[in-house]
């Protein structure tokens, strides 16, 4: 006997998708995604680039908002385990934003030399935020220049290229200790005169280079003259500003990561660096910073790939590192709009963008609620989107009519008639099983499903035969143009009309309607007996209603009906009784028809008034 495992494991993929805060990310980015697809068709040229940058910034602000909220939740978390979980989510989001920002600078903004460094400086400043808290700390104290972290603050300001603020700090030091006022002033001047490309400036790159070279030499002179020898802090600042690698590496703690080191190094040794030269500096910065002590982490590899302008590598590494397709799907889509991705043909013929979007959207469909977002993503996958949508949408569980209506609307908007039919059929069957014949009919009308409408009508007719009256008269009496959907339905409607006419004593009209119902053959054979029986009272009326012609036709129908009846063999009492009733009915009909025929012939044969 093989022991069986008593447990059932519930496997769920994409745990991230269920997080409350991340849902906001998915929803907001869905809106941005749609906006991007729609504007893309219209834009060309310069405005296109600025629009794409704006879209990128929108995505980033959404990530930041999410980060903020998660940070608040992490702080407020009651138990440390969930607090840690939220904190790790925050750091993942922060890393995503870091990568996205770099991609925006390098691939979307495509900043040229000169401006490139400014963007990179902004990038670093945004992501190393200890400066602000440190600054608040130091400035808030009574005697800032005596604060323990004063020089740390000044150093980090210099490292981030925030030379104006650093100068202000130095002036405080100058005020506090007159002895070093002189050298502080010189340093301040040096900081002030560092040439930097400002956005409104019209100087060319060469001019900037020349000026910078000049300034650099001035700094060198000060170093060689040992002007700042009395103050080791200022001396190290000077070395930093000269771009001395050793001095920079001494500040590893303040720099905190290799890309900060990279940007500072570029700022003070090669501010007009060209984009294509970036990767030399990037690789060497990483090596120098890590110094052989630790190996690069996934994030480092991703950033390095970005500096090397290897987009595919960036996306590949991100896909591996992150557990959710959200990031790579949206970033790749945006880069694709920038026309940066060559179409890589993957196994099933779609390109990378489409593959990632399909994966992301399929993940959304696994969620009970977010499937509606997935629909729009499938729409923008030209090769396999429609097919994937068709498969997914049929499998959404429909527990209320309202949800079914939404799903049907999605299918109808995309002309997925097969799916519409199959969903309507399922709903109609459910309705029939619950005895909601009106609902069943309205579903078959929506799907234009004649076969089902016939089924519903047969149900009605069967009920009538069994009970002698119609259920749901409100439906049958008010069919309207829907009657035309199926023959059986038309018959039902007309039959009710016959009842109405009879009730209003419009016998002649009722009679001809009844006859046409039978002769046009839209009445089901099983119902003919009932129709003929309905004709009986009309035949028995004092006045002659059916003309001779009509009576002949009725007799024809009766003969048709009786001649086809199979000869019964041995049967039990009940069947014999039924047969008896049948035979009596037929005989009565024959008698009534014969009598009517006689009266009709006489009436038609006689002259009016005589």
């Amino acid at each position: 006997m093989v022991p069986s495992c008593p447990f059932i494991y519930i496997i769920r993929k994409d745990v991230d998708v269920y997080s409350q805060i991340l849902r906001k990310l998915f929803n907001e980015s869905h809106g941005i995604f749609l906006g991007l697809q729609r504007i893309d068709e219209e834009l060309t040229g310069k405005s296109r680039k600025s629009q794409l940058v704006r879209v990128s910034k929108n995505y980033r602000s959404v990530i930041r908002a999410c980060m903020e909220e998660m940070h608040q939740v992490a702080i407020a978390a009651k138990d440390p385990a969930s607090g840690r979980q939220f904190s790790s989510q925050v750091s993942i989001l922060s890393a995503m934003e870091l990568i996205w920002n770099l991609c925006e600078i390098l691939f979307i903004e495509v900043a040229p030399a000169g401006h490139l460094l400014l963007h990179l400086l902004d990038w670093v400043r945004l992501h190393v935020c200890e400066v602000d808290s440190l600054s608040a700390d130091v400035l808030g104290s009574e005697n800032p220049s005596n604060h323990g972290s004063f020089w740390n603050l000044v150093t980090i300001l210099v490292l981030q290229g925030r030379l104006d603020e650093a100068r202000q700090m130095l002036s405080k030091e100058a005020d506090a200790s007159p002895a070093s006022a002189g050298i502080c002033r010189i340093m301040g001047d040096l900081m002030r005169t560092m040439p930097i490309l400002s956005p409104g400036n019209t100087q060319t790159l060469t001019e900037l280079e020349l000026k910078w070279q000049h300034w650099h030499e001035e700094c060198e002179r000060y170093l060689q003259d040992s002007t700042f020898a009395t103050n080791p802090h200022l001396e190290s600042l000077l070395k930093i500003m000269l771009g001395d690698e050793a001095a920079l590496l001494e500040q590893k703690e303040l720099l905190s990561n290799w890309y900060h080191f990279l940007v500072t190094r570029l700022l003070y040794s090669n501010p007009t660096v060209k984009p294509i030269d970036l990767h030399y500096y990037a690789q060497s910065s990483l090596d120098l910073f890590l110094g052989g002590e630790s190996s690069p982490e996934p994030l480092d590899n991703i950033l390095l790939a970005a500096f090397e302008f290897d987009i595919h590598q960036v996306i590949k590494e991100c896909s591996i590192a992150l557990s959710n397709w959200w990031f790579v799907a949206h970033l790749t889509d945006l880069l694709d709009h920038c026309k940066l991705l060559q179409s890589h043909n993957l196994y099933f013929g779609s390109n990378m963008r489409e593959f990632l979007l399909l994966e992301y959207a399929s993940g959304l469909f696994a969620h009970p609620s977010l499937w509606q977002l997935g629909v729009d993503y499938f729409d923008y996958c030209p090769k396999l989107g429609r097919v994937s949508l068709e498969l997914h949408i049929e499998r959404i569980p429909l527990n209320t009519e309202q949800k079914a209506l939404k799903v049907l609307r999605i299918c109808e908007q995309r002309q997925m008639t097969e799916q519409v039919r199959s969903i309507c059929k399922i709903l109609a069957m459910k309705a029939v099983r619950n005895n909601r014949l009106g609902s069943a009919l309205s579903w078959s009308i929506r799907a234009k499903d004649a076969a089902f409408a016939t089924l519903v009508s047969d149900r009605f007719l069967r009920d009538y035969c069994e009970r002698g009256c119609f259920s749901d008269l409100d439906l049958i009496d008010n069919l309207g143009p829907a009657m035309m959907l199926s023959d059986r339905l038309t018959f039902l409607g007309k039959y009710r009309e016959f009842h109405h006419m009879y009730g209003e004593k419009r016998f002649a009209d009722a009679a001809s309607l009844l006859l046409s119902l039978m002769t046009s053959r839209i009445a089901p054979r099983s119902f003919w007996m009932t129709l003929l029986t309905d004709a009986l009272p009309l035949l028995e009326q004092k006045q002659v209603i059916f003309s001779a012609e009509q009576t002949y036709e009725l007799m024809q129908c009766l003969e048709d009906l009786t001649s086809r009846r199979p000869v019964r063999g041995e049967s039990d009492i009940q069947q014999l009784q039924d047969e008896d009733i049948e035979t009596t009915k037929v005989e009565m009909l024959r008698l009534a028809l014969a009598r009517n025929l006689a009266r009709a012939i006489i009436r038609e044969g006689s002259l009016e008034g005589s």
């Binding site: 409350q20 805060i21 849902r23 906001k24 929803n27 907001e28 869905h30 809106g31 906006g35 009970p368 609620s369 509606q372 977002l373 527990n399 209320t400 009519e401 309202q402 949800k403 209506l405 939404k406 609307r409 908007q413 619950n434 005895n435 909601r436 014949l437 009106g438 609902s439 009919l441 309205s442 009308i445 259920s471 749901d472 409100d474 439906l475 008010n478 069919l479 309207g480 143009p481 829907a482």
Partner: protein
Amino acid sequence: MEEIYAKFVSQKISKTRWRPLPPGSLQTAETFATGSWDNEENYVSLWSIGDFGNLDSDGGFEGDHQLLCDIRHHGDVMDLQFFDQERIVTASSTGCVTVFLHHPNNQTLSVNQQWTTAHYHAGPGSPSYSSAPCTGVVCNNPEIVTVGEDGRINLFRADHKEAVRTIDNADSSTLHAVTFLRTPEILTVNSIGQLKIWDFRQQGNEPSQILSLTGDRVPLHCVDRHPNQQHVVATGGQDGMLSIWDVRQGTMPVSLLKAHEAEMWEVHFHPSNPDHLFTCSEDGSLWHWDASTDVPEKSSLFHQGGRSSTFLSHSISNQANVHQSVISSWLSTDPAKDRIEITSLLPSRSLSVNSLDVLGPCLVCGTDAEAIYVTRHLFS
């Protein structure tokens, strides 16, 4: 439309309703309730847009809406109404009708009363018991009327354990919405395009009147009664068509207005300015219909500001013999005058707008994109 605030709330919103103000109060609306749907855990939540201390340049209070409290709800919230200042009635997709009570002192919600088998296909006694979603609920203190996919109408009274009156098989199709006409009369709309009026004073199970569209039997999803004129009713259909009916006259609508491109989920007359009508739809738009006559004569509809859309008015019956002074601007059928101005209120197309509510100058709506939009300056 300026100053419309959006907030993403991590749940698809199926219903939003303002908390009614005490009669005679001069305050503006401050609190609204929302119900979610399609989640594994659905919630009924209360939100507040009251001041949070941020004064804007005009001295008015602005800011996001904040969550006050919420409570788990079994099944999708199919409909939600405020019964009175503290109680909220919800209709669930499990066929259950629940009354929630709000405790303002500690800001919590609790279940006050529940009718768990209000709507079902096969009865609780039978072996194949299956519940049916309850699709609509309307309150008129102390009565609550509910309708569902089982075609049943229930009349409950708060604090009574059993239903006061039940009309089984009132309709062979699904009843989508219900509203009170006059106190003992209700009006229901169903999925074969019929309006039925029921009188609770009568004993039978038949409607006292049936009205329907002449053309295709398009399902009707929502209904609202004119606040002052109890015979004027507006309905919205699956094809996005807005119909105005006069229930005293004839069995056909007075006017049909082609509106949205997809199902119209809710239609509301403004309770204090009934010349204004609001509709929201599956196509992601929310429209404000302005039929007030103090607007200067416009020769054409299309040059109005805002994001108006094409509108085709098609009147069916002649109402010419009604006195001009008592005629509602909705009933007058002179298409040449083109007096209705339509503006779209949401800044961009989103997923379906499932619900809206208006009270005074405030409007709130909820969408399938998990966002709630609030504006406090409807008529600026």
